[in-house]
C-alpha cells in the first residue's frame, strides 16, 4: 500500500524513536504491564504504515469500498448519509396492557425499531399458569400466552408504525413468526407492509443463555424452518440474527464469541442447503448480533472484521454469487460495563459503546438504559437511551462520511488480527466436527468458563477497571430502582389466560394442534401448521407441549467446571 522508499525511511526513523520510547519507559514506567482486554489482543504503543505492511494489507482486496465485497467499510455505498442506523429499544414487562403503554411512549420518542422482550415462561414454552412459571410471569419481559396478548400489546399500534418489530423466541422461532403474521393479518396488513425481525438463534442457548427446550437438532430445524418460510414468503423480513453477544457476555471474549456465532451460522446454512434451498435464495436474510464490552477500538474493528470474514466465507465456502448474500447486516447492543453503583454513569458508558458500534458501521442499534443494572428500564432512563441514539445520528457529524476510521493504522491492523483469530477458532470448531459437535464436546463451554474466570480475576485485581466500583469508590448505598414492577401482573395474566381458554373454540384448537404434531413428525416446514394453531388462539405452552411430545427435551450436562 505504501511506497517502499517511504517505508524504508520510516523503518529507520521508527528505530530511532524506539530508543526515545525505551528511555521514557525506563524513566517513567507504564501504567500497566500489558494493555489488553478479554479479546486477548494487546495494544502496542503505536501503529504506523509499517504495521499495515507487516499485515500484508492490500487496499483493494482487504479494505475496498463500501457497498462492495468484502464490505469491510460497510454494506451500503452511502451508509448513514442515506439514513442512520435504526433507533432500537428492547422493551416489555408485566402484562400486555402495561407493555402497550410503554410501547406507545417509545413510539412518541422516535423509536423506530422495537424489540419485544418476552418473559421467561414464554421463551421456554410454558403458559403463565404452569408450575414452572411461578414468580417469572412478566418479569424479564411481557407475558405472551397467545395471539390475544399480541393484539393487546399492539392495540392502537399497527405493526407498520415501526421500521421493524422483533422479538427473540430462540427455541420457538416459528411461534414468534406466526404471532406477528397473525397479528398483521388482524390489523389488515399484508406481509410486504411491515418488517419482522427475529433472533431465532437457538444454538447459543445450549451453551450460555439457557432458554433451550428441545434437543439441538430439533432446535436447529425450528430455526431454519423460519428462515426457509421467509425466503419464500417474506423476503424483506429478517428471520434470524446469529448472536455473539451472549457468548461474549458469558465469558468467551468478543473474538471467540463472534467466531462461535459464525460457526453456529454455518450449521443453520448447511441445514437449509441440505433441504434444497440454494444459498443465494436465503443468505441475504441473515443478520448477526455483535458485541464487545471492554475496548472501544476492538468494538469498531470487530464489526469490520466480521463483515469481511462473513463475506469471504459465504463466497469461498458456500459459493454465494449475489453480493447481497455476502453483505452482513449487523445488530449491536450498547451495554456491558454498566454498574449498580452510581447509575447515571452508565449513560456515559452506553453512549461510548454506541459510538463504537456506529463507527463500526452497525445497521440496527439498541441502547440499554442507565438503570438496567438494578431493574427494568424506567421511563426516564429509556428516554435518555433513545436520545443518545438520536444525538449520535444527528448532532455530531459522525454520520456525515462513510467509515471515518477506515485507513487508521490501528483499526486496520486490529481488523486483520481479529479476522485471523476468528478464522483460527472457526477452523478449530470445524475440526471438531462443526458447532453441534463442538458444543457436545464442551469446547464452547470450556472457552467460556476459562474466559469468565479470567475476567473475574482481572476485575478483582483491578486490571479490568470499573470506575466507582473497584476504583474511585465512595461509601454510599446501592440505589433503589426507579422502576417498580406491578406485583399483580402474574395474577392478572393468569386470569386473562384462563378466560381465553373458556372463550375460544377448543375443537378448532385441538385439530390445529393435531396438525402441528403430524407435521412435526414429518420433514415438512412447521410454519404453516403453527400459523393455523396460533390463529385458533392455541397458547404458546400448548404448541410447545405438542413439540415436546414429538422432539423430547434437551438435558444439559450439568457442570460448573
Amino acid at each position: 500500500m505504501f511506497d517502499p522508499q517511504l517505508l524504508e525511511k520510516l523503518r529507520i526513523e521508527k528505530a530511532e524513536w524506539e530508543q526515545i520510547l525505551k528511555k521514557d519507559i525506563e524513566r517513567f514506567g507504564e501504567r500497566r504491564q500489558e494493555f489488553s482486554s478479554s479479546s486477548g489482543i494487546p495494544a502496542k504503543n503505536l501503529y504506523t504504515p509499517l504495521d499495515l505492511e507487516d499485515e500484508r494489507i492490500d487496499y483493494l482486496r482487504d479494505i475496498g469500498l463500501p457497498g462492495k465485497y468484502p464490505f469491510t467499510r460497510g454494506i451500503y455505498p452511502n451508509m448513514y448519509r442515506r439514513e442512520p442506523f435504526t433507533f432500537r429499544i428492547y422493551t416489555g414487562f408485566g402484562t400486555p396492557r402495561e407493555t402497550n403503554c410503554r410501547v406507545k411512549l417509545l413510539l412518541k420518542l422516535g423509536v423506530n425499531d422495537l424489540q419485544l422482550a418476552a418473559d421467561l415462561p414464554t421463551q421456554v414454552g410454558y403458559d403463565s399458569d404452569h408450575i414452572m412459571s411461578r414468580g417469572e410471569v412478566g418479569k424479564v419481559g411481557v407475558a405472551i400466552d397467545s395471539l390475544r396478548d399480541m393484539e393487546m400489546i399492539f392495540d392502537g399500534l399497527p405493526l407498520n408504525s415501526f421500521k421493524r418489530v422483533s422479538t427473540l423466541f430462540n427455541s420457538l422461532g416459528p411461534i414468534a413468526l406466526c404471532l406477528f403474521m397473525a397479528l398483521g393479518e388482524k390489523q389488515g396488513l399484508a406481509i410486504r407492509d411491515y418488517v419482522v425481525d427475529l433472533q431465532n438463534d437457538v444454538l447459543k442457548e445450549y451453551v450460555c443463555r439457557g432458554t433451550y427446550i428441545f434437543p439441538m437438532e430439533a432446535g436447529v430445524r425450528l430455526c431454519t424452518d423460519v428462515v426457509r418460510f421467509c425466503a419464500e414468503n417474506a423476503l424483506q423480513w429478517y428471520p434470524m440474527t446469529i448472536c455473539s453477544n451472549h457468548l461474549n457476555a458469558a465469558g468467551a471474549g468478543s473474538t471467540a464469541a463472534t467466531a462461535f456465532a459464525m460457526a453456529n451460522g454455518m450449521v443453520y446454512m448447511r441445514d437449509i442447503l441440505k433441504k434444497g434451498m440454494p444459498i443465494d435464495r436465503f443468505a441475504s436474510l441473515l443478520c448477526m448480533f455483535l458485541d464487545e464490552r471492554e475496548d472501544f477500538f476492538i468494538t469498531i474493528a470487530n464489526l469490520r472484521a466480521t463483515r469481511r470474514l462473513w463475506a469471504r466465507i459465504l463466497k469461498e465456502q458456500f459459493g454465494a454469487k449475489e453480493p447481497n448474500s455476502m453483505a452482513l447486516k449487523i445488530t449491536s447492543y450498547s451495554h456491558g460495563g454498566e454498574t449498580l453503583r452510581e447509575l447515571l454513569n452508565n449513560s456515559v458508558r452506553i453512549a461510548y459503546a454506541a459510538l463504537g458500534y456506529v463507527l463500526g458501521g452497525v445497521q440496527f442499534l439498541y441502547n440499554a438504559s442507565f438503570d438496567e443494572a438494578v431493574s427494568l428500564a424506567s421511563e426516564e432512563a429509556v428516554k435518555v437511551a433513545v436520545r443518545t441514539q438520536q444525538i449520535l445520528a444527528h448532532e455530531l457529524g459522525i454520520t456525515n462520511t462513510v467509515d471515518p476510521l477506515g485507513g487508521s493504522y490501528y483499526i486496520e491492523t486490529l481488523t486483520n488480527q481479529i479476522e485471523r483469530r476468528m478464522r483460527q477458532i472457526i477452523e478449530k470448531v470445524e475440526s471438531l466436527g462443526g458447532a453441534l459437535e463442538a458444543i457436545r464436546k464442551g469446547y464452547y463451554q470450556s472457552v467460556i468458563a476459562e474466559g469468565a474466570s479470567l475476567r473475574q480475576k482481572r476485575f478483582e485485581e483491578k486490571d479490568m477497571v470499573s470506575v466507582g466500583v473497584n476504583v474511585y469508590r465512595t461509601e454510599e448505598e446501592d440505589p433503589e430502582p426507579l422502576f417498580r414492577m406491578n406485583q399483580q401482573s402474574e395474577e392478572e395474566q393468569i386470569r386473562n389466560l384462563q378466560a381465553l381458554r373458556r372463550e375460544r373454540s377448543s375443537r378448532e384448537v385441538q385439530s390445529a394442534l393435531a396438525a402441528v404434531k403430524r407435521v412435526a413428525k414429518s420433514e415438512d416446514n412447521l410454519v404453516p401448521a403453527i400459523f393455523s394453531a396460533v390463529k385458533a388462539y392455541a397458547t404458546v405452552g400448548e404448541i410447545s407441549d405438542v413439540l415436546r411430545e414429538v422432539f423430547g427435551e434437551y438435558k444439559e450436562a450439568v457442570s460448573y467446571l
Partner: protein, 147 residues
C-alpha cells in the same frame, strides 16, 4: 481432621444466566469446600430436597430474573417444613436494596449483588460456617460433584 464444608449452588426458576453461579461454585471449591452444583431450572422443592439428601451446610442461589421475592421466601418455608432450617440460605443476583433488607429479615443470611468479588463470598461462607458448624460424622464424598 475436620470435615469439609458442603455447599449446594443452584439456579432457581427459568433464568439461564449461570456465569455468576458457576464462578461462585469454582471459587468455593478453590476455597477448600465441597460444592454440589445443581444447574439450571431447578424448582425450590428440588433445591430443598437436594440440599437435605446431600447433607449440605448451606445453599447458594443465583437469580437474575427478578423472581427473588417468590423463590427465597419459598425455599425458607420449605426448609422449615422439613426441619432443615439449620441449612444456611444465601444468594445473589439483580436484587434491589429494599428487597435485600426484606429477605434478610425473613432469614436469608446474605445477598450479593453485582461488583462483589468471589473472595468476599468465600470469606463470608467460611465465617458463617465457623460460627454455626454442626458436629458431624466423617464421610468425605468426592470433592466435586455435578447433578
Amino acid at each position: 481432621m475436620e470435615e469439609k464444608i458442603r455447599i449446594l449452588i443452584s439456579k432457581v426458576g427459568l433464568d439461564g444466566h449461570d456465569v455468576g453461579a458457576k464462578l461462585v461454585a469454582r471459587a468455593l471449591r478453590d476455597g477448600g469446600m465441597e460444592v454440589v452444583y445443581a444447574g439450571l431450572r431447578r424448582t425450590p422443592e428440588e433445591v430443598v430436597d437436594i440440599a437435605i439428601q446431600e447433607d449440605v451446610d448451606a445453599i447458594g442461589i443465583s437469580i437474575l430474573s427478578g423472581a427473588h421475592m417468590t423463590f427465597f421466601p419459598l425455599i425458607l418455608k420449605l426448609l422449615a417444613e422439613k426441619n432443615a432450617s439449620d441449612i444456611m440460605l444465601f444468594g445473589g443476583g439483580v436484587i434491589p436494596v429494599s428487597h435485600i433488607k426484606e429477605l434478610k429479615h425473613l432469614g436469608v443470611r446474605e445477598l450479593f449483588t453485582a461488583g462483589t468479588t468471589t473472595s468476599q463470598i468465600v470469606e463470608f461462607v467460611k465465617k458463617e460456617m465457623g460460627k454455626r458448624r454442626r458436629g458431624k460424622g466423617c464421610c468425605n464424598g468426592p470433592a466435586i460433584r455435578d447433578l
